[in-house]
C-alpha cells in the first residue's frame, strides 16, 4: 500500500517526473501546465534530481532540445499544452519518425482563438496524426500512474508519448493520490538502455529518404506503431502487479449487459460513472467505455465492448471543422464498420473551452440513447450540448 498524498495534479505530475529523474528536461511553461515545469525546476534547484534542466525560449526549442537529447540516448521529458503543443507540431513528426522515446505531460487545453486557457481535448486531437502515443487520464491518480508508465511504454515501443489530463478541471484540482516511493519507480522503469551509441556506432540521424525509400520507412513506422497497443497492455499489467492498480487501453464500466454505452475520455468519465450508477439503480441498462489510449486506437478492445450494445453515444470534448463528427466519433465509427450488425451511433460535442458538463447533461445523453433503442435510431446524429442555443 503506497503513501496517500493530496496536491494539485500539476504538482503531482512534477512529483512523478522527479521520481523518474530524467536525464534531460527542456521546457517552456504554458498555462495550464505551467506548474509542472515550475515545480520540477524546484526539484532541480534543490538537488533532488540529477536532471539537466534546459529552460528554453519557446516550445519549438523545448521539443527540439528534447529530440536532440533523446537521439543521443538520454531519457527525456517535458510538459506543455494548447498553443505550446501546436508550436511543437513540426518537430513532433520528426520525433516519432526518429523513434525518440520522449515523454511529454500535457494539461489538455482549448486552442485559440478566441483565447481560452481552459480544458478540452482540441490540442491532443490536433496532433493525433503525428505518430505519438497519446494517453488520457481521468483523474489525478491516473495522471500520476500514466506518467510513470509512460517511460517503459515509450522506451519499449521506441515512440514518443503524451500523457494528458484535463486542463484546470484536473490540473488545478487537489485530489487524493496513492504514490510509490522513488526507489520503486526507479526499479519499475529500470535504467535507460540506449539503442545505440552516438560515440561508438556508425549511424545517421535525421536521414533524407526520397522516392526510393520514404514509403518503406513509413510502412515500418506504421507497423511498429500498431504494436504499441500490446505494449500499453503489458506495462499496465506490470504496473498493476506493483501497485494493485491495473490498467488496459480502455476501461469498461457496467458494459457487459448494457443496451446503451457511452464512450468518453478524461475527467468526464468519472462524472459519467456516477450517472451510470444512478441510472442502473433505476433499472436502466447503461454503461461506460472510457478510452485511455487515444492513439494508436485500440480497435479490437473497443469493438469487443461495443459489439453487443444497441446504442453507442460518443462524447467528444473536441471537434473537427467539417468532419463527420468529433475526432473520437470518427475513430469509433470507423472501428465499428467491421461489424455485420452495427449499433445506433450518435456523437455529442461538449465542454469546449472548459464549459462544465454536469450529471444532468450526461443523463440526457443516456436518455437519448434509450429512446433511440426503443424507436428507430436518432433524429440527429451529431449534437452540440452544454451550449447556449
Amino acid at each position: 500500500m503506497g503513501k496517500k498524498i493530496a496536491m494539485e495534479t500539476n504538482q503531482l505530475a512534477a512529483f512523478a517526473m522527479a521520481q523518474i529523474d530524467p536525464d534531460v528536461v527542456a521546457a517552456y511553461p504554458i498555462t495550464p501546465s505551467t506548474e509542472v515545469v515550475q515545480e520540477f525546476s524546484k526539484y532541480v534547484a534543490n538537488g533532488e534530481v540529477t536532471t539537466e534542466f534546459v529552460p528554453v525560449e519557446s516550445e519549438h526549442s523545448a521539443i527540439s532540445a528534447c529530440l536532440g537529447a533523446a537521439t543521443a540516448g538520454a531519457r527525456v521529458m517535458t510538459a506543455t499544452a494548447s498553443q505550446g503543443l501546436a508550436l511543437m507540431n513540426e518537430i513532433l513528426h520528426i520525433a516519432s519518425s526518429s523513434r525518440a522515446p520522449i515523454s511529454v505531460v500535457v494539461a489538455s487545453r482549448a486552442l485559440s482563438g478566441p483565447i481560452n486557457i481552459h480544458g478540452d481535448h482540441m490540442d491532443i486531437s490536433s496532433i493525433r496524426d503525428a505518430g505519438w502515443i497519446i494517453m488520457v487520464a481521468e483523474d489525478a491518480q491516473e495522471a500520476y500512474d500514466n506518467i510513470i508508465q509512460s517511460i517503459p511504454i515509450a522506451e519499449r515501443a521506441r515512440f514518443p508519448i503524451i500523457t494528458s489530463y484535463d486542463g484546470f478541471i484536473t490540473s488545478h484540482a487537489v485530489e487524493v493520490a496513492e504514490v510509490l516511493e522513488k526507489e520503486e519507480v526507479q526499479k519499475f522503469i529500470g535504467p535507460k538502455k540506449p539503442d545505440y551509441s552516438v560515440f561508438e556506432d556508425k549511424l545517421t540521424i535525421g536521414v533524407l529518404a526520397l522516392q526510393d525509400s520514404y514509403i518503406e520507412f513509413k510502412r515500418k513506422q506504421a507497423e511498429d506503431y500498431d504494436k504499441v497497443v500490446d505494449i500499453v497492455k503489458q506495462v499496465g499489467k506490470e504496473y498493476g502487479d506493483l501497485t494493485g492498480r491495473y490498467y488496459d487501453t480502455i476501461e469498461k464500466y457496467m458494459t457487459d449487459d448494457a443496451e446503451v454505452i457511452m464512450v468518453v475520455m478524461g475527467s468526464t468519465a468519472g462524472t459519467a460513472k456516477v450517472v451510470v450508477d444512478q441510472m442502473r439503480a433505476e433499472g436502466h441498462k447503461v454503461g461506460l467505455l472510457k478510452i485511455r489510449l487515444f492513439r494508436p486506437v485500440p480497435k479490437d478492445d473497443i469493438i469487443s465492448v461495443l459489439r453487443t450494445a444497441d446504442a453507442v453515444m460518443v462524447m467528444d470534448r473536441a471537434f473537427t471543422y467539417g468532419g463527420i463528427g468529433g475526432p473520437l466519433f470518427e475513430e469509433i465509427s470507423a472501428a465499428m464498420n467491421d461489424l455485420p450488425c452495427r449499433p445506433y451511433m450518435a456523437n455529442y460535442i461538449y465542454g469546449l473551452g472548459g464549459r462544465d458538463i454536469k450529471p444532468s447533461h450526461i443523463r440526457q445523453v443516456f436518455e437519448d440513447g434509450l429512446k433511440a433503442v426503443k424507436g428507430c435510431g436518432f433524429d440527429q446524429q451529431i449534437k452540440w450540448i452544454t451550449v447556449r442555443e
Binding site: 493530496a6 478541471i169 484536473t170 484540482a173 487537489v174 485530489e175 487524493v176
Partner: protein
C-alpha cells in the same frame, strides 16, 4: 448535494486566502482517511475580484468532476459579496448552512438573504486576523468557525495540518498567529438557527 459527498463553496475576493482555505480543509480531511477534492474557480484573476473555491469531502473515492451545483455549506469570507452576488445559488434554503465573516449578529443577515431558513452564523474573522496575525486575511478564522458550526472534523486535525502546511512557507510567529486565529474563530462564532 450529491449522495455521500459533502460540498462546500467558499466566496471571497482574490488575495483573501480563499483557495488556501478550500485546500487546507480538504487536506486536513484527507489526513483522517477521507477522500477529497478542492479547486478554485478560475476566471480573469486580479487582486480584489470576487472568486469562489470548492471543497468536496467523502468517505468514498470521489468520481464526479463537474462543478459544484448544490453546495451544502457556504462560507463567505468577504461580507461585501452578500447582496452583490447570489451566494445562495443552488443552496437548499431549509437545510443549507451559511457562515459569514462579519462583526454583526447573524440575524442581521436574514433580511439580506430572503427565503433562507437554514443555519446562519457570523464571526468577526477580519478582526481576529488583524489581532492575531496583524494582517486582514480572514480565511483561517473562517475555517475555525466552520468547524464549530458543522462539527465536520476535529479542530485538532485542522491545527495539525495548518502547522505542517504553513511551517513550510511562514515564520513561527505567523504560524502561531494563525493557530490562534483558528482557535478564536472556533470560539467566537455566533450561530442562529
Amino acid at each position: 448535494m450529491i449522495e455521500n459527498i459533502l460540498e462546500i463553496r467558499w466566496h471571497g475576493r482574490a488575495g483573501q486566502g480563499v483557495k488556501t482555505a478550500s485546500y487546507l480543509l480538504a487536506e486536513a480531511a484527507m489526513d483522517l482517511g477521507k477522500y477529497i477534492q478542492a479547486f478554485p474557480e478560475y476566471g480573469p484573476e486580479r487582486m480584489g475580484a470576487p472568486m469562489a473555491a470548492y471543497t468536496r469531502i467523502s468517505d468514498e473515492k470521489i468520481l464526479i468532476h463537474s462543478g459544484v451545483e448544490n453546495p451544502d455549506i457556504i462560507v463567505v469570507i468577504d461580507p461585501t459579496l452578500v447582496g452583490t452576488i447570489d451566494i445562495l445559488k443552488g443552496v437548499d434554503l431549509e437545510k443549507g448552512i451559511v457562515i459569514i465573516n462579519s462583526a454583526m449578529e447573524p440575524d442581521m443577515f436574514r433580511k439580506k438573504l430572503p427565503g433562507f431558513k437554514g443555519k446562519l452564523a457570523t464571526v468577526d474573522a477580519t478582526g481576529i486576523a488583524l489581532d492575531s496575525i496583524g494582517r486582514p486575511i480572514p480565511n483561517v478564522p473562517m475555517i475555525g468557525a466552520l468547524i464549530k458550526v458543522t462539527d465536520l472534523l476535529p479542530l485538532k486535525s485542522v491545527e495539525e495540518k495548518l502547522r505542517h502546511k504553513f511551517s513550510e512557507k511562514f515564520t513561527e510567529k505567523i504560524v502561531e498567529g494563525n493557530l490562534k486565529a483558528l482557535e478564536r474563530g472556533y470560539q467566537e462564532v455566533r450561530i442562529d438557527g
